[in-house]
Symmetry: D2
Amino acid sequence: MTNAEKIVNFMFTNDAFSQWLGIERLRVAPGICDLRMTVRNEMLNGFAIAHGGISYSLADTALAFASNAHGLKCYSVETSISHVKPVVEGDVLTTVVEEKSLSRRIGVYHITVFNQNNEAVAFFKGTVHRSEKSWEIA
Amino acid sequence: MTNAEKIVNFMFTNDAFSQWLGIERLRVAPGICDLRMTVRNEMLNGFAIAHGGISYSLADTALAFASNAHGLKCYSVETSISHVKPVVEGDVLTTVVEEKSLSRRIGVYHITVFNQNNEAVAFFKGTVHRSEKSWEIA
Amino acid sequence: MTNAEKIVNFMFTNDAFSQWLGIERLRVAPGICDLRMTVRNEMLNGFAIAHGGISYSLADTALAFASNAHGLKCYSVETSISHVKPVVEGDVLTTVVEEKSLSRRIGVYHITVFNQNNEAVAFFKGTVHRSEKSWEIA
Amino acid sequence: MTNAEKIVNFMFTNDAFSQWLGIERLRVAPGICDLRMTVRNEMLNGFAIAHGGISYSLADTALAFASNAHGLKCYSVETSISHVKPVVEGDVLTTVVEEKSLSRRIGVYHITVFNQNNEAVAFFKGTVHRSEKSWEIA
């Protein structure tokens, strides 16, 4: 395992909510995180589509994994999301992370959530603060 | 029940994810929605704090309920959130909605998420598109 | 001139502030708008770099031109910008617009501002409301 | 002069663009900055209303002054604005800053822009990174 994979493996193993979402890791590297999950009935809202919190949570997990995979502990400081296409039960969502900017203390990420037809369903933007603490995984 | 309460009651009854979150409605009126929920172990992330998606989802439910309570079907077009204080297991979160602007087709909302000590844990901003369709609840 | 160019030509001719900024149009088409401007001394702030409002204004003009170029009158409902690299006097800024989503009433755009070295200096995201009114240019 | 006023005085004296905007300082204190400006013809866009960059720039100046007034050099990392009411020539705009959160390295601010009738015309949200460098003004 690379150091990035070790860090994300440690984070994921302790991330009960990402596990509840059924998130799988397809690829992890510094600044990169491809995830996948399937939308279940209990994730729907009163419009019979996925609650906005589902796509947000998936993208937020991708943000945390991609940014921490560089080795410094990172914390989200601001995130936004535009939901542009309805997500329904059974849809298989994946993430594509673009690291738009990485300075000493700040990282900026665009994360697109796609469905199984390669249609973008949400555009997420996240800014993280990169702390001075390194991940030390045995 | 007021019309606002009828609409939100209908939305909530069909909102499986808000129910999984354990959301309770404290007050609902046009443009207003006070919610409450308790953070459970399965909502935590790899930092042993609530996943960012939890506060987001609570605020997003409040946005949907508050904006739809006016009677027109509303859809989120852009939302953002700043997580400013860690949320831990057992914390009781509540929402306060401020309707900052309401025009014919667009609504803008600030939603603050508080913990049980009245400390703000997240600042959420949501913009909705107000469609031409009215809620018709029997 | 295409209809898109006629609309943007009309908007630009009446846009005193974009003219003050020294904005030139390099390319205009439905959903597309490449602009260029040079940073002057009077655009700097107290850190001797371009005021954040300069990159914002350039990107906001690109948003207005790109979205209106489809033919419907569009109004900004939410915009955000991350300034990731300092801009200094004499820098030549250009915009690249990506139309991420276009539905009947809502458009979502990512606009990147580059300097003369092809370095991204700002990431802008804009959401517009597409009204029912068409542009009618003689 | 307080230290906050000294810092902001230094910033303002060197801020050519804020001076071009005609910004006046009404009140400055740590985390607080009330500003005022009058909208001139050269600030309008092709809709004959103030360009979105004008309200943004005013609020962005308020963000810089309010956050730096604490004594640490601060840099904007993410800002967003919703323009909710048209601004026309002759309007007198003022800012009200709310410091929503201030941690060691991050500050979060809501800034409302009002017109002369006390109507909110724009809602701005800004996140700054507080660097380790202090302002040292003679």
